[in-house]
């Protein structure tokens, strides 16, 4: 019975240590409280995606990579809730930004893209989950596709706003240059990959090992912390590329949009 006795006290550790430990503690009070968010601005990013800026006076602050939960309530009490990544970098403006795709038949994104206007009030709770957060401490290799670039852009903006010197690279996949969200804001840290169309002279095709190899070759001391965000098919593809290129699995964080 020594085996069982050993487990009556202390904490249990599985035989395999979980590959990717959480990054930060989450403030349970902030995560649990619904707050009013007032829409102050709508900016079009692409023909399918727009950024929505909200005033949230009681916002507890967030780290790049975190998300929130949002709810809309109909007259009859029907509620629709969704999780969305925060697009804005943490700041003390009392405002946050979300960038939403207009999903076909999406009851929530449809409201945002066709009904919402400045002054509208919705409810949010968060920030949530510390797993995908990037406090700006470790060298960051960011891989995103489509609206998966949103939490990664929060990291890029945070990096710039604080003038951080820790290395950061963004590899972002979009169907065409016109569908690349934040195109005007992306800088030398970014390599875009176009999967369906691009001007003559620009290669078109899926993200490959060839895109990753130079980034992994220039890995900083201590290596990259990799953050992958996008659809499940992109996340599967990109994470396999990372593993094949030698990135350790315990340094790959994945946020899948489902």
């Amino acid at each position: 019975m020594t085996e069982t006795a050993a487990h009556t006290t202390g904490s249990f550790t599985p035989p395999t240590r979980f590959a990717v430990p959480g990054r930060i503690e989450v403030d349970g009070a902030a995560a649990g409280t619904w707050q009013t968010a007032t829409l102050t601005e709508i900016r079009r990013e692409t023909h399918r995606a727009s950024t929505f800026r909200f005033a949230v006076p009681g916002w507890a602050g967030h780290l790049p990579g975190q998300h929130l939960m949002l709810r809309l309530t109909a007259e009859d009490g029907y509620v629709a809730q969704r999780h969305y990544s925060l697009a804005s970098a943490p700041d003390d403006s009392g405002h946050i930004e979300l960038t939403l795709d207009h999903v076909e038949d999406g009851e929530v994104s449809g409201w945002f893209h066709t009904v919402a206007r400045p002054g509208d009030r919705i409810e949010v709770r968060g920030p949530l989950s510390g797993f995908f957060a990037w406090p700006g401490d470790r060298p960051a290799l960011l891989l995103g596709a489509g609206s998966g670039v949103v939490p990664l852009m929060s990291m890029v903006r945070h990096h710039r706003a604080l003038g951080l010197t820790v290395p950061l690279r963004l590899l972002v996949s979009a169907r065409t240059p016109g569908e690349l969200i934040y195109a005007r804001e992306l800088g030398t840290e970014t390599t875009p990959v176009f999967t369906r169309g691009a001007p003559a002279g620009t290669p078109v095709g899926r993200m490959t090992t060839a895109h990753l190899a130079p980034l992994l070759a220039e890995a900083p001391a201590g290596g990259w912390e990799a953050y992958v965000c996008g659809s499940n098919s992109f996340a599967e593809h990109a994470s396999r590329l990372l593993v094949a290129a030698g990135q350790p699995v315990d340094r790959i964080r994945i946020e899948r949009f489902g």
């Binding site: 009556t8 599985p14 989450v26 994470s239």
Partner: protein, 201 residues
Amino acid sequence: MNTTRGFTGRPRAARPGLPPGQYDAGDDWPVLSAEVTPDVSPADWTFRVSGLVAEPRTWDWAGAHRLPASAYSGDIHCVTGWSKFGVRFGGVSLDTFLEAARPLPSATHAVAYSHTGYTANLPLADLTGGRAWIVREYDGQPLAPEHGGPARLVVPHLYFWKSVKWIAGLELLDHDEPGFWEQNGYHARGNPWEEQRYSGD
């Protein structure tokens, strides 16, 4: 109630099996996991029940196959908001494994862990009485790796992050010990009918 101007939402087709705050994912089965999908073949797979049990036991793929088959047909609910109706999982009831290992009277909780080290904590009462399975089939086909294949835990009456993919074992404890998401702000139990999403709910 803080109504949202101009929001009507999708038609309210009566969906009695839908817990509060959830929507029907229809034919979709979104994949949500925070890690690289591991390459676990049936030959590599084992399932262990240990901790506060009379007889710690480990099954390999063939050994688990020799146990009586049991299926779950019903609904599943993910904390991110989707629910999926009428899914069919095939495998073995967790009761069968637990009866072989014989939990001690002091066992009250369990940590379920995967071959990747992902963990989720559950009260033992949520794992017994025909309410939990180790499954290897979905809709009559082998369970896909991204959905936890070759075998995963399924505890359908709780949010699905409790249903550990690539299940490797259950450690029985005399106390509750937060797993991966539970340490990252999620609720200790995760009952969708009480909308226990985050700690404090």
